[in-house]
């Protein structure tokens, strides 16, 4: 096999595989997943809104809940702002990776992870507050099982929180992976896909913040 051994080995074909549509496979499958995820959140938000319209007080009887008193709109506005800003950092991280600037990438991804944790922390705090209520101020507790509003609210926002947590885990993975020496400019696509997911989760939150929180103050 001397002749074949002397052949120079070509670049691996799959690194920049040509696709029929020109969109990379990984990016296309992420877009498809996000399209599907729209339907997941669409179903949850619809469930929430239908029950919201059916029960103006959020439960079958008046007095079980007091939604605007329970909500802590200042805190939620703050965490919404934090999540928006994390999307900004994510965009910078993707751009840094496209340029191959690993240090800038790490800095910005750490920022996204930090902001993600702040958001999740706010949500945990908020959930705990809601479940306990505030007997001194006369705010009744809101739990998964004491009202329809509680059920739809916690499952919807909890599903979103799970998405954020998965995103944070993914980013932590990318952060540590960037020290392995295997992360090059070719990995920018992987970072970009993570970015797509992160921006989507952010956009979903803007919708949830509007139709679940802000609408209560109309």
């Amino acid at each position: 096999m001397e002749t074949t051994a002397s052949l120079s080995l070509p670049e691996p074909a799959h690194a920049h595989a040509h696709t029929s549509s020109g969109i990379e496979n990984k990016k296309l499958i992420m877009w498809l997943f996000l399209a599907s995820d729209c339907m997941f959140f669409g179903t949850l938000i619809t469930t929430h809104l239908i029950y919201r319209k059916l029960y103006p007080s959020g439960a079958t009887e008046e007095g079980i809940l007091n939604i605007t008193q329970t909500f802590n709109i200042e805190l939620t506005s703050f965490s919404t702002f934090i999540l928006l800003m994390s999307s900004f950092l994510m965009a910078i991280a993707v751009s840094a990776m496209h340029k191959g600037e690993l240090k800038s990438f790490r800095r910005n991804v750490l920022g996204v992870i930090f902001f993600g944790f702040i958001f999740l922390g706010c949500q945990v705090f908020e959930f705990t507050e809601f479940v306990h209520g505030n007997p001194e101020l006369g705010v009744p507790p809101m739990t998964l099982s004491n009202s329809v509003f509680g059920s739809t609210f916690f499952v919807l926002t909890g599903t979103h929180g799970t998405h954020v947590a998965i995103g944070v885990l993914w980013l932590i993975g990318l952060f540590f992976y960037s020290f392995s020496g295997r992360m090059t400019r070719d990995s920018a696509l992987d970072v970009e896909i993570c970015g797509l997911y992160w921006h989507f989760v952010d956009i979903v939150w803007i919708i949830i913040f509007t139709v679940v929180y802000l609408v209560e103050y109309l």
Binding site: M1, T3, T4, A5, L7, L9, P10, P12, A13, H14, A15, T19, S20, S21, I23, N25, L28, I29, L32, F33, A35, S36, D37, M39, F40, G42, T43, L44, T47, I50, Y51, L54, Y55, A59, T60, L144, S145, S147, V148, G150, S151, T152, F154, V155, T159, G173, Y177, R182
Partner: protein, 669 residues
């Protein structure tokens, strides 16, 4: 992640043991069971899907036959009412999710990449993962039978004392029957099984859509795609938009059952009708998810056997897409009797009548294809013609249901049972059998017994009609579905035994077909690579298809490329091939993680059910299962796609210097 370089090998057992990025050796060189467990080859995964589907068809068939035996005479007490409920629930769920969908997935997997000139699907490991997760879901559903058996021996007692351990809530599991108040662990098995199957279907669909959009051979534009590939695409789109509705509905049901939420708890303000809406927003597209692959198969076989191009190709494509779109707009026709209001009922009535139009267009096009063709009545063709006829009958009774006042009379009667079995057995099953007879020669290079094939076709079509046509009468005479027995004196005594006899003829016919599949795999008569003189690219390959599919990538010159190549005059009608990479063909590496991920879902599903049954420490099993899934995903990402190089047989002999003309003559078959 770069592939480690090595010299291309002729057979993968000669591969060097290359370590992946994780530091583990990829199981590329394996043979036997380990090879089947770790395979990422779309053809092997297709065969695994098909084997499971045939097995579960038999399970679902036996369940159906027991149901028919129970109904053979009035006041029969062969089985208890609860077992009857469990049988019809599991029959429906098994046939839809474990029989038809995986058999369609088997065809998608095996045939679609070959039709578009691809070496594999876009994400080979994800494809393997879909299969193993499917198997996990199927096992979660069906292991309930073993727990039920344990319960009858007194070895297993759920904490709530309810004895329905096999699901007994019907395949659409209407609320509030599914609440903890009214049903036992069976509902947990049902909801977790379906949830896990949903993960598998979604992952597979993402993969197929990307494959079709991105991995077509040069020259294969969308409007040159074979119809079966088109229907795979439409089905994939339907799955990714329809399954989220059931996933969320199941999530809400799971929260209701495990964490005391109030989505469907009436006394706390939950609305059972919400379940019906969410279920049917999934459930009606699901009907098209089931039937469109069958329509795709028929659209391949009829032009081949008529030796004519498909009549009105663009119309059939667009009709398929329109059916897919409109499938989302008609769900409430399953709920006419719930009191939707006049406007909603009228709108859904009209839309339901409207969806018959693209379906009719397709039927007309198939008949148009037959017109003037030199028809060969091969076995797949006989099944296909049966499909057109039976499916049309099912469609007719479907249009009857679209009139809401008529539907109010037919609701929950055997008329509905007759209708959907005409669509799903008379239509879908016939097309799947047609697909089996058509493509088994490609998969194994062996011909099924054609004489027996005609007998199977006769028995299935006759047996099917004897079973289900009388159900139209029974339904209109008022016999309700889902009741485990009936009294004499209602005029139902004649047609029930007739239907039971028909069901056994149908069952024996299908069993004969499956036995013949097994016989063919072992010692069928070898056939050439193109026994039907077919039209699409998969028939340009040797049978059985080599691991790398295409030694040289074809350049597609038109619709029905292989037919043009064989029968059309002129140089421009010949298939050409791209030059071969001298280093060999890049193949994706095998992986242990997909089956490991499936195991995680299995542990998760069973532990959740056991937790619901009050088994101590089962909650830890849930955590273990989910941890396995997370660990799998992490290792999967870190090991990377890998890959190795293989030399095609012809190329190997020529030591890497084969030109275009040689490779094309190689494949003239």
């Amino acid at each position: 992640m770069a592939t480690d370089y090595h010299e291309a090998v002729a057979c993968k057992s000669q591969l060097p043991h290359i370590k992946s990025a994780l530091g583990l050796t990829r199981p590329d060189y394996t043979t036997g069971i380990a090879d089947w467990l770790t395979t990422v080859d779309h053809k092997k995964i297709g065969m695994l899907y098909a084997a499971c589907a045939l097995f579960f068809f038999l399970v679902g068939g036996i369940e159906a036959l027991v149901i028919r035996l129970q109904l053979i005479i009035p006041n029969n007490h062969l089985i208890s009412a609860q077992l009857y409920n469990q049988l019809f629930t599991m029959h429906g769920t098994t046939m839809i999710f474990l029989g038809v969908m995986p058999l369609s997935a088997a065809f998608f997997n095996y045939i679609m990449p070959l039709q578009i000139g691809a070496r594999d699907v876009a994400f080979p490991r994800l494809n393997a993962f879909s299969f193993w997760v499917f198997l996990a879901g199927a096992l979660v559903l069906n292991l309930s039978w073993f727990f039920q058996l344990a319960e009858t021996f007194g070895w297993f007692i759920p904490v709530d004392g309810k004895t329905d351990i096999v699901p007994a809530v019907g395949w659409f599991a209407y609320s509030p029957l599914t609440s903890v108040q009214f049903s036992g662990v069976g509902t947990d098995f049902w909801l977790l099984g379906i949830q896990i199957l949903g993960v598998a279907s979604l992952a597979a669909s993402f993969n197929f859509i990307v494959t079709i959009i991105n991995m077509r051979a040069p020259g294969l534009t969308m409007m040159r795609l074979p119809l079966f590939t088109w229907m795979t695409l439409v089905t994939g789109v339907l799955i990714i938009f329809a399954f989220p509705a059931i996933t969320i509905a199941l999530l809400e049901l799971m929260f209701d059952r495990f964490f005391e939420t109030n989505f469907f708890h009436v006394e706390k303000g939950g609305q059972p009708i919400l379940w019906q809406h969410l279920f049917w927003i999934f459930g009606h597209p699901e009907v098209y998810i089931l039937i469109l692959p069958g329509m795709g198969i028929i659209s391949e076989i009829i032009p081949t056997a008529s030796r004519k191009p498909l009549y009105g190709y663009p119309l059939i494509v667009f009709s398929g897409a329109v059916i897919g779109f409109m499938g989302f707009t008609v769900w409430s026709h399953h709920m006419f009797t719930t009191g939707l209001g006049k406007v909603a009922t009228a709108a859904f009535s009209l839309l339901t009548m409207g969806i018959a139009v693209p379906t009719g267009v397709k039927i007309l096009n198939w008949i148009g294809t037959l017109w003037g063709g030199r028809i060969r009545f091969s076995v797949p063709m006989v099944f296909s013609l049966g499909f057109i006829w039976m499916f049309m009958l099912g469609g007719m009774s479907g249009i009857m249901h679209s009139a809401a006042p008529a539907d109010a009379q037919q609701q929950d009667s055997y008329f509905v049972v007759a209708h959907f079995h005409y669509v799903l057995v008379g239509g879908l099953l016939l097309s799947l059998l047609a697909g089996i007879y058509y493509w088994v020669p490609k998969v194994f290079g062996r011909m099924m017994n054609q004489k027996l094939g005609y007998w199977v076709a006769g028995m299935v079509i006759v047996g099917f009609n004897v079973t289900f046509f009388p159900m139209h009468y029974l339904g209109l005479a008022g016999m309700p579905r889902r009741t485990h027995t009936y009294w004499s004196g209602f005029g139902w005594e004649l047609w029930n035994p007739v239907a039971t006899v028909g069901a056994f003829v149908l069952g024996i016919g299908i069993l004969l077909c499956f036995i013949d599949v097994v016989r063919t795999v072992i010692k069928g008569k070898p056939c050439g690579s193109d026994p039907w003189d077919a039209r699409t690219l998969e028939w340009s390959l040797p049978s059985p298809v080599p691991a790398y599919n295409f030694a040289a990538m074809p350049v597609v010159q038109g619709r029905d490329a292989w037919w043009l190549h064989k029968h059309e005059a002129g140089e421009e009608a010949r298939l050409t091939y791209e030059p071969i990479d001298p280093h060999g063909i890049h193949m994706p590496s095998q992986s242990w993680w997909p089956p490991f991920g499936g195991l995680g879902f299995l542990v998760f599903g069973i532990s959740m059910c056991m937790h619901g049954a009050g088994v101590v420490f089962a909650g830890y099993g849930v955590i273990v299962g989910l941890s396995i899934v997370v660990f799998t995903i992490l290792c999967w990402a870190l090991e990377g796609p890998g890959g190795y190089y293989i030399k095609p047989a012809a190329l190997h002999a020529e030591a890497g210097a084969m030109g275009e003309t040689q490779s094309s003559s190689e494949f003239k078959g």
